[in-house]
């Protein structure tokens, strides 16, 4: 969704293409209502009051917070960073012009419209890609949601989660935290305590959502964390394809983004969830960048339901996320397609969990990791076949591509099989962009830079094929890799 990186197709000299400039790195100068840094129960009460939340939600937040205080930061991931001072972060920031909640598209602050336009996301419906509805989240609040009317005609609810709390409290209360409980892990607990906005989607029984839904997350304010929460419910036989994109300004400070995404699938439902993550990655010395610590989980409750996660992770200083599938319903299917690129000093520890509970459940994992520069890359995946999951099948393929010899790739597969009828397949490769592949392309007249990009994109092809067309093109562009010292 981050059409932000409109690439300049000039011909850079080799020394110039070390790093593609981060083109979404601008700051929008806008008056914001920002809470001073710090986290305590008053801050949580303040957020809840700002959003005019019912009592039950405030209590849910406070309970999560109290639980969080007893937890300690996880350190098992293969990433390194300085300790985060959770008291130095501001937990709420919203443009002043949006104080009364999302307005109609005509009333939006022109500065916000301009911001999204600059990122390639026009919010005026007639200008946007036909067939894609957008929820735009700016710092802690949703500033606009397009095509709400058209979707409502089809019975689809697509709105900011704060609005859903107000308008559809029974749905929210029924499902919020039912996939990722508030105490699930350190960052999920933190998110449950302080989440500010995010998208809510409900697709009713038997409805095929008539358009692609997408949420575009933008962090703008300084020293602010973004803690969004997305909840998607696909009722029996429903279908939806959902996309999310993310960018942030270029800053020397690290910023925290700790999101929770919950997907609920009832009988025969299908959700396709795609992410193009392009948060600011920091500079070549590792200064600045987003810490992207995210919990994403889909619960295939109904038989024959099917979920697929597709992610293209190119941004963030540190990425720590494992979109997972709980395959509870018999014959349910979980898929995970991932491309993660780490360059400069970026680190990523990402993968998935496939929890097979129902009979004849099936999962597919295709993970492509690319490391360049001083980037560090880890695939971490769990496949668990429960004792009742007769006939469960998993196929895992995880490939790593190294560009240069100062980067690293690591694989941590975990397999737990408690049912003897399971079928497991695992393939893994690690390769280096070969001098011979590059020379072959150059001998055919393709510049070194174009050759690297061609080889990297070829490597990612199985995953890009899973993305909707426009986003596949975008993903291709985001994958432009630097080359300096890439080939020995």
């Amino acid at each position: 969704m981050s059409d932000a990186t409109l690439t300049k197709k000039t011909e850079p000299k080799p020394e110039e293409f070390t790093n593609n400039e981060y083109e979404a790195g601008f700051v929008t100068d806008i008056d914001s209502d920002t809470l001073p840094p710090g986290l305590n129960e008053d801050v949580i009460r303040h957020i809840s009051a700002k959003k005019d939340e019912p009592e039950w939600l405030l209590n849910w937040r406070l309970e999560a917070f109290r639980h969080w205080l007893t937890m300690s930061e996880p350190h098992w991931a293969h990433v390194q960073y300085d300790k985060i001072d959770f008291q130095s972060i501001s937990y709420y920031s919203a443009p002043k012009s949006q104080e009364d909640g999302p307005k109609s598209l005509d009333e939006i602050d022109p500065k916000l419209l301009e911001t999204y336009e600059k990122l390639g996301i026009p919010l005026r419906e007639q200008e946007f890609l036909a067939g894609v509805a957008v929820d735009a989240v700016f710092d802690s609040v949703s500033v606009a949601t397009t095509f709400k009317g058209k979707l409502k005609d089809a019975g689809v609810i697509f709105c900011p989660i704060s609005e859903a709390v107000r308008d559809y409290p029974e749905l929210v209360q029924q499902y919020l935290g039912s996939v990722v409980p508030s105490g699930d892990n350190f960052y999920a607990a933190l998110n449950s305590a302080v989440f500010t906005d995010g998208s809510f989607v409900y697709i009713p029984k038997g409805v095929r959502c008539p358009m692609e839904l997408s949420t575009y997350f933008r962090i703008n304010a300084l020293n602010t964390g973004q803690f969004e929460r997305t909840l998607i419910i696909a009722d029996e036989g429903a279908y939806v394809s959902y996309l999310e994109g993310c960018t942030a300004p270029q800053r020397d400070e690290n910023q925290l983004h700790a999101a929770v995404v919950e997907l609920v699938l009832l009988d025969d439902a299908q959700i396709k969830y795609a992410t193009v993550q392009n948060w600011y990655p920091g500079d070549e010395n590792g200064l600045g960048g987003i810490y992207n610590f995210v919990t994403k989980r889909a619960d295939c409750r109904g038989p024959r339901s099917k979920v697929s996660w597709t992610q293209v992770e190119t941004g963030s200083a540190i990425t720590w996320k494992y979109p997972s599938c709980v395959l509870r319903g018999d014959d349910s299917v979980g898929e995970f397609y991932s491309v993660a690129l780490t360059k400069m000093r970026q680190e990523a520890d990402t993968g998935t969990k496939m929890i097979h509970i129902g009979k004849n459940t099936k999962s597919t994992i295709v993970s492509k990791g690319i490391a360049a520069g001083h980037g560090q890359q880890a695939y971490r995946g769990l496949v668990r076949i429960g004792k009742n999951a007769d006939g469960a099948r998993n196929f895992t393929q995880c490939d790593s591509l190294l560009i240069g010899d100062t980067c690293g790739a690591h694989t941590f597969p975990y397999v737990e099989v408690k049912n003897p009828t399971a079928t497991m397949e695992h393939e893994a490769t690690t390769s280096k962009i070969g001098e011979d592949q590059l020379f072959y392309c150059r001998q055919r007249g393709i510049s070194e830079e174009d050759a690297v990009n061609m080889i990297v994109n070829g490597f990612c092809k199985d995953v890009f094929n899973e993305l909707p067309m426009e986003f596949a093109v975008e993903a291709n562009r985001l994958m432009e890799v630097s080359l300096e010292g890439a080939v020995g």
């Binding site: 011979d436 072959y440 392309c441 055919r444 994109n457 990612c460």
Partner: protein, 250 residues
């Protein structure tokens, strides 16, 4: 066309080429033969500009330009083509897509308009017939899962599409059975033109039965020891290389 003078080159500090002198005129077909390790492949790689081959002395002039000063892709744009001895696989990169990028980079360099997808497909289908390459190969990954013979055919197909003025065929015959050899050789013969020079590097006379050279050179221990016409190849076939070395040493 191509003039190589006193060319010395080393790989990993070891001198492989020890003073090559060779002149190739437009439209000529030259065969370079020699025992294993004589420097045949090194010569093709140096001309094409592969990294890791260090030129320590001498010059290579191509159409009046200093070839050694150019990047590999610039050499390609100027019309130098290398059919690889071991064509590499590039998974996921569509064969036609890669070739189109190459053709259009060259056209751009020459100030010509780039070909669009439709015109390019037409060109490619026409050229594929030349080496009897099944169209299904066009949409596969570059050399991905191709047999040895298919890879070599793909090389000559690429040559046909890129229309080079200097084609270096590095052991294009190795690993081919008789039928495949005939098909590849027929393809090359159809690509012979007055303004296109071809240099074939080979171990065996066999290839020369199909593609008749104007000149044959014997390369041994980094130097061209003897040059002649195609009868020299026949003589090598029956007598081996030792007599050439002895003659040169005398």
């Amino acid at each position: 066309m191509l003039k190589i003078e006193n060319l010395h080159a080393s790989v990993a500090g070891k001198e492989i080429l020890k003073g090559i002198n060779l002149e190739i005129g437009a439209g000529e077909v030259h065969a370079i033969m020699g025992p294993n390790g004589s420097g045949k492949s090194t010569l093709s790689n140096v001309i094409a500009g592969r990294d890791g081959y260090k030129v320590t002395a001498g010059s290579v002039t191509y159409n009046g330009k200093d070839l050694l000063a150019m990047e590999p892709e610039e050499r390609a744009w100027e019309g130098v083509f290398l059919a690889f001895q071991y064509p590499v696989e590039i998974p996921g990169v569509n064969n036609t897509y890669m070739l189109k990028a190459g053709v259009n980079a060259k056209r751009k360099h020459q100030g010509e308009q780039e070909l669009d997808a439709i015109d390019f497909m037409q060109l490619v289908k026409e050229k594929a017939k030349l080496v009897e390459l099944n169209e299904s190969f066009l949409s596969r990954g570059v050399n991905e899962g191709f047999s040895g013979g298919e890879k070599k055919r793909n090389e000559i197909f690429q040559m046909a599409v890129l229309e080079p003025s200097l084609a270096l065929l590095d052991e294009t015959d190795s690993g081919l059975d008789i039928d495949a050899l005939r098909i590849v050789a027929n393809g090359v013969n159809k690509l012979r033109r007055e303004d296109r020079s071809i240099v074939m590097v080979t171990h065996y006379q066999r290839l020369l039965d199909y593609i008749e050279p104007d000149f044959v050179h014997v390369l041994a221990d980094g130097q061209i020891l003897k040059s002649g016409d195609k009868s020299l190849a026949l003589e090598l076939e029956s007598r081996g290389y030792d007599w050439v070395k002895e003659e040169a040493a005398a």
